[in-house]
Symmetry: C2
Subunit: 203 residues, 2 copies
């Protein structure tokens, strides 16, 4: 098994943090996004959508999409449980993972991709007006997440799950996207600090 | 249990199709998006992100996000299996569901939201240039999905899964988004017709 990775992109980091939480090690193959290696034929043959991360099994089977890869790792290494232990918890982990991904991480990533000069080649056309329109979306999501965290340490409840990983990666990506996390969001800030202090955050 | 629904939005349709495939019936509560009912306090209290569908359990627990709702229904009604029967199949269902959602459905929805006059109030600001930039993204995804379907009847393999539901809803939404499905994509067209002919498609 091997994982196509980039140390400079947020999505592969989600998988690396997940692996660290599981205590699982998989050989990493670095893909040079700056050199557009992910658009070369040998990579496109593995993933025609040309995104990372990509997990390649020993028989050549390919699994793409960060959360699909994490879910597969969870099947192979069930403990610690990160996707939910009961039907309801699994639903709430899925709900919060998706909310944090689509309502927080996506607007932050769109703000980055449509405003940062380094992304001009990868995000073509860049639409600065769309980048700007995503800033209030990201800030609104931060406020909602802050409120949700008022009565619990992690986003789904009392324990760390894969949804928290998405939250950490999203909030860390706010910095390169130049979106300041409002300091009055105390619960969000406490959560962010707690997650960033876990050893897995360095993965 | 009840489901907050709109018959005019694509996401609740994903859940209705899923329920029809399961043979499960849940009372529907229609939310009038045109009247912005999803932005009223009684709805925001249930889902501060103000999106539908929303599943409300008898004890008042709220599950948002179409796929989280479907996953919960799958837990309660495991047959027919729509999320994958083995670790690998579950990973591939997740991969394709996400690809179809993020690389096909999302660009189609963005093209619609940023170009249709009826969406001006809901998608504020509309960015027509961003709407236009999503058309080639949607067409590229259609080509990749067509190629993937060359050797199999459904997107993950020999049988229908929740990923196919996302594909059907995405392709049907291309029409209001005014994105023509290229007629040369024969595998995509065959798949679309097969899915649209299932009784669940009318749900």
């Amino acid at each position: 098994m091997k994982l196509y990775n980039s140390n400079f992109a947020p999505n592969p980091r989600r998988v690396r943090i997940f692996l660290a939480e599981k205590g699982v090690s998989i050989p990493l193959i670095e893909v040079d996004l700056g050199a557009l290696e992910h658009k070369r034929p040998e990579f496109s043959a593995r993933n025609p959508f040309e995104t990372i991360p990509v997990l390649e099994l020993d028989d050549g089977t390919i699994i793409c999409e960060s959360i699909a890869i994490c879910r597969y790792i969870e099947e192979l290494h069930p403990e610690p449980n990160l996707f939910g232990a009961t039907a309801l918890e699994r639903a709430l982990v899925e709900m919060w993972q998706r909310r944090l991904e689509q309502r927080l991480f996506l607007p932050i990533a769109q703000a980055f991709r449509h405003s940062h000069p380094r992304m001009a080649e990868m995000e073509n056309p860049q639409v600065p007006e769309w980048g700007a329109a995503n800033r209030p979306k990201a800030l609104r999501a931060m406020g909602i997440v802050d409120e949700a965290l008022r009565d619990r340490p992690f986003i789904v409840g009392d324990r760390f799950t894969v949804a928290d990983i998405t939250g950490l990666v999203a909030l860390d990506f706010a910095k390169p996207a130049r979106i300041a996390i409002p300091p009055e969001l105390k619960h969000l800030d406490r959560w962010h600090e707690t997650l960033a202090a876990r050893p897995s955050a360095a993965a």
